[in-house]
Assembly symmetry: C2
């Protein structure tokens, strides 16, 4: 009948029950989960089975454990989707490309949304980037993209993007080159003015230079 209790493997069942537990007890990110021994008793299973479930979630970055301290629900930013992906799956070029493309799907959509929304494209934050570029003459690429995604207002999209951005971390989390600086300025300016097409063209150009580096 019940799919939950139909599970063959105890540890998979525990993963489900933990999810349920987090939901019903409204455990927030950073908060503590019951100890392994307590879970073992409450769920009526052996501690080793509880550990198998917890370790699985830990590998994903869904929970954090502190030796002697306890087990804690991790913040969304710490999920390790791409970390694990790259470890086992991203060996082939096709998968790497897919991650990059998927990330860019979200970035492009955010640019579209902002360009088309008066209240978003006229936000003072964009000007602050120009100021920063004038003063320091450079800017962190990842910061620009993140701000764009955040501003677009889709929190789920942001979460997905965060995960994917980890993979390209090295390529994105760095200061812009002289060449990029101009492109980024063009992109932001176009976006501010609501020129969607131009902003996207500049974006594509930017990503092209990123790839070539």
């Amino acid at each position: 009948m019940d799919k939950k209790t139909e599970q063959k493997k105890v540890f998979l069942d525990i993963v489900q029950q933990l999810r349920q537990l987090i939901k019903t007890e409204k455990i927030q990110a950073g908060e503590k989960l019951p100890s392994e021994r307590v879970l073992s008793e409450r769920l009526g299973v052996g501690r080793s089975s509880v550990r198998e479930a917890l370790r699985s979630l830990e590998l994903l970055g869904l929970i954090e454990t502190r030796h002697g301290g306890g087990t804690f629900l991790a913040s969304t930013q710490k999920h390790q989707l791409v970390e694990i992906l790259s470890m086992f799956i991203l060996e082939d070029e096709k998968s790497k490309k897919d991650v990059e493309l998927t990330r860019q799907i979200h970035e492009k959509e955010a640019i579209r949304v902002i360009s088309c929304t008066e209240t978003l494209r006229t936000l003072p934050v964009w000007d602050s980037f120009f100021v920063k570029l004038e003063i320091e003459s450079t800017i962190n690429c990842r910061d620009v993209l993140r701000e764009i995604i955040i501003t677009s207002g889709n929190r789920l999209s942001l979460k997905v993007w965060f995960q994917l951005a980890v993979y390209d971390g090295d390529r994105l989390n760095r200061n812009s080159t002289e060449e990029e600086k101009l492109i980024i300025q063009t992109m932001l300016k176009s976006m501010q003015l609501g020129y969607e097409k131009e902003a996207l063209t500049a974006y594509e150009q930017w990503m092209k230079t990123v790839r070539s580096n």
Copy 2:
């Protein structure tokens, strides 16, 4: 020194070593891994630690275990990373609107990609939809969208989409109305001819009717 051996937790270390093992011994998808007891001995750790690592990889769908049979390397198609993560990420996502928008981001991009790619937009599968629409006069909405995402060729995007589609499954997994039928036909036709803009316009129109239902 070595990051691999610097690992604090044995089970994480084992995950790494398993990856190494698979690589060096060239274990292909579907092939058998050493037994838990053998791994335990070879790696010089307890069996419970080996199990914690194996169960972690099993949750991700990276390996498959058969009771009494052994542990096998899973095929690339079966990875469940996105599924598991979405289970936790989507759970605390308050806004259903975000889920819908994010799903549509992937759909729109797929339409763009197909429209711009000769080999994709001329695929016979699109004609088959027209045939089906003529014969049965209706079609499953979800099937159309799924085919579009699949055809776009981004496997990761497909996985993300699939998870998101589960959430408004009821609204999508149904037969098209008379009104929708025309819109879908327009959309597909535009796509086939490479008219990206028209295809997207039709798509937006379609989603509008979906929302109003």
